[in-house]
């Protein structure tokens, strides 16, 4: 109960001072907006991120705050209602006057907040793996772009597991659609025939998986090694993996690599039958490093012994610390100064190595592939060196000509063929 009431104390959206004393030279306290859904369908994933932000802010305040000022969390609840993201972003920036926002999960919520951020010149850190094809002046993307998650996972399938026949299963929304479009182009490029790529989209929260799993099993009749690339989102995974287990599909026969299943999602599952299936992320809780051990311990102390850590949490961890360092370097919380100080910021990954913020507002991070263990954690079986995030994929013809460089080109959507900046705002 102690952590619950602590959260409750912190979770008010009216600005609350998280530490008792405010340094004297701070006329205005530094405010950090937290824009994660606490109710509605996305609360399942986003509530954790609110908690991790509160923990990071508390830790920073204990360490003396930023620029000698204490930080103040301003938490609002967009309630998984996309227009509310735009409304609350405006409220955070104009009424609460926050200096930075950490928030959003789904692409549509980010696209909802984007125009407001760009209009009011706000600053947001977006912590979730996403479909790419975007680079906003006012957003730093600390989650993985497709080339930092999907492409390496497919390479692993091709190279290490010898998969020749692919089933791309996804929930019907933008991230799976765009990711699968990129992967299809990539696979065709790699010489996989079009008839060896099976694509299926299901609604959010889908539970009737038996036909789809049968379809995937039937792909084996082609005599080629079958592999599943899953962009299935959220709780639909429960039914999917249960059906895989029921039909006796083992990881040795048909491996499944998931881009949206992490420690948090597995905690709602009986993981016994899933052992051996894969997930690709930039972070796993099982990473065996000292800073990760400290992070996990701090999290368990803050949120509860049974809580797990996951990739978007690490993204917020890196993003928040980079922002703190950028503010210290710039000597102000002014958005433009901080933005420029962000380029080239370095911060250690929890999995080892160093993350770097590039001028396209994406991170360089290592890509990890983990095998699901029976205890709901992952065995890390492959870890690359840091891969720079690519805002515009090289595998779709329209975006191959685009690039993003806010430092040298001062443009997030630069056409290298015509050598012009297509637009300064992003394409929401």
């Amino acid at each position: 109960m102690t952590h619950r009431s602590l959260l409750a104390a912190l979770a008010t959206s009216t600005a609350l001072v998280a530490a008792p004393a405010i340094a004297q030279d701070c006329a205005d306290p530094i405010k950090v907006g937290v824009l994660h859904s606490l109710s509605g369908s996305m609360a399942i994933s986003e509530t954790t991120l609110r908690d991790v932000m509160l923990m990071l802010i508390e830790q920073q305040n204990e360490a003396g705050g930023v620029l000698g000022c204490q930080l103040e969390a301003v938490v609002v609840d967009p309630a998984s209602d996309w227009p509310l993201f735009a409304e609350l972003t405006r409220q955070l920036l104009t009424v609460d006057e926050v200096d930075v926002i950490f928030g959003a999960w789904t692409s549509v919520s980010r696209k909802s907040a984007l125009p407001v951020l760009e209009e009011l010149n706000g600053l947001m850190f977006y912590p979730v793996q996403y479909e790419g094809e975007e680079s906003s002046r006012n957003v730093f993307y600390t989650g993985a772009a497709p080339n930092q998650q999907a492409i390496p996972a497919v390479d692993y399938f091709l190279e290490e597991l010898g998969v020749e026949s692919f089933a791309l299963l996804g929930t019907d929304y933008v991230y799976p659609r765009t990711t699968n479009a990129i992967l299809e182009a990539y696979l065709l490029d790699k010489g996989i025939a079009a008839e060896d790529i099976f694509v299926n989209y299901t609604p959010f929260g889908h539970s009737d998986w038996s036909t789809i799993v049968s379809d995937v099993v039937a792909l084996g009749a082609g005599g080629k090694q079958v592999g599943v690339i899953s962009t299935i989102n959220g709780d639909a995974n429960v039914g999917f993996y249960t059906e895989l287990g029921a039909q006796g599909v083992s990881a040795a026969d048909i491996p499944v690599v998931a881009f949206s299943v992490g420690e948090e999602e597995l905690s709602g599952l009986d993981t016994g039958p899933l052992a051996g299936h894969l997930a690709a992320w930039n972070y796993f809780q099982s990473a065996d490093t000292e800073i990760n051990a400290d992070f996990v311990a701090a999290w368990k102390e803050f949120a509860g012994e049974d809580r797990v850590t996951n990739d978007p949490m690490e993204a917020h961890y890196i993003g928040f610390n980079m922002w703190v360092n950028a503010v210290e370097a710039a000597g102000t919380t002014d958005v433009d100064a901080v933005r420029e100080a962000m380029w080239g910021q370095e911060y250690p990954n929890l999995t080892g190595g160093t993350a770097v913020m590039n001028a396209n507002h994406h991170l360089s991070k290592p890509v990890l592939i983990g095998e699901i263990r029976e205890d709901g954690q992952f065995d890390i079986i492959s870890q690359t060196t840091e891969v720079p995030g690519d805002a515009w994929t090289d595998f779709l013809p329209e975006s191959a000509v685009l690039t993003s460089d806010w430092q040298a080109l001062e443009c997030g959507m630069y056409n290298t063929e015509t050598e012009t900046c297509v637009q300064l705002t992003s394409n929401y």
Binding site: S5, S13, P83, Q91, K111, L114, E119, V174
Partner: protein, 394 residues
Amino acid sequence: MAKTTLAPRKGFLSENPSVLRFLGLLALFTIIISALAEGFGVGVISTSFLKVLGMTLCLCLIAVAMDVVWGYCGILSLGHFAFFGLGGYGIGMWLMYARTEGIVRESLANAPIPATEGEVRDAIATQIFSVVGSTELPFIWGFAHSLTLQLLLIVLVPGLLALVFGWLAFRSRVTGVYLSILTQAMTLALSLYLFQNDTGLRGNNGLSGLQNIPGLLHLPQSTIALWFFWASALALGLGYLLFAWLVSGKFGSVVRAIRDNESRVRFLGYHVESYKLVVFTATAIVSGIAGALYYPQAGIINPAEIAPITSIYLAVWVAIGGRGRLYGAVIGAATVSLLSSWFTGGGAPNINLGFYEIVWTDWWLVLLGLGFVAVTLFFPKGIGGLFDYLVRKP
């Protein structure tokens, strides 16, 4: 229907002082809010709150329409948000197309060879649809370049859908709960359809960035928000007037009679289906207009907006406000949606009970749900009924 049934009686407004009072209050409200708004440099009311108020006016408008169709005609439609959403998509298509066209033309202006119209269209399509992995402009965007045509569609599409759906349903004499479930199925089908990525309206992402009005990009949002607030107030006033007039005359009496006993009205020789169809279609068109004003203020429209639950909420607003009185619908919609944004926006202070602290983001929906139950049980006439009771008591 003979012309006489629809002709207004003399002195409609003088016979309905409540309509006049409402319009007066609305005007006063608009003036006060405008005077305090950021757009006039006062800034007591922030732009974000002004947008909330403008959107609330649009919700009041659809609530009035809902009250006419349910409170007066007895059709509990659980699908009116489908029309609202269609209106939003209608205006959204033009907003996105025109804004993108501006960006594309500007970026192509420096090319050594001037672009052909085909190239411009392709570039616009790529820009809008690359997010769903497509580069083709779907045929339903054929009119998106023209504001006039698209405005026409905002009226025509919801109107035609309501006409066809209503004609089918009323002709088959589907009534009561069955009709409610049928309308719910309609909005479910539409939202499922729009959820699919390949239906040409960007699937789950919907249309976004709608607050940036092409041609007005140089104006600050505080001004645009104010304009939309005025437009919403005007639309609510006109809509209210239209419906008050519609339900006040003989037409209104027939409609109310249908609500109370459909068979008897039919036996009296009225063509019940036509009356219902007129009410259903007219309210659908007004809902579409309300949506077209709402989404440029909200900034984004996507299929979740027309999921069945939103239309149930609409019915609840009307019930809470009090059915069968138009101002009741306005009160209900305004109260619930403003309270909702107060609680989720974090305006409400937490209550510490000592052993437990009530965080409103966690408990607000419980309160709202129990509130619905209480209103239905104890105030069957809603807040509007309570209001009537207080006014007439002395």
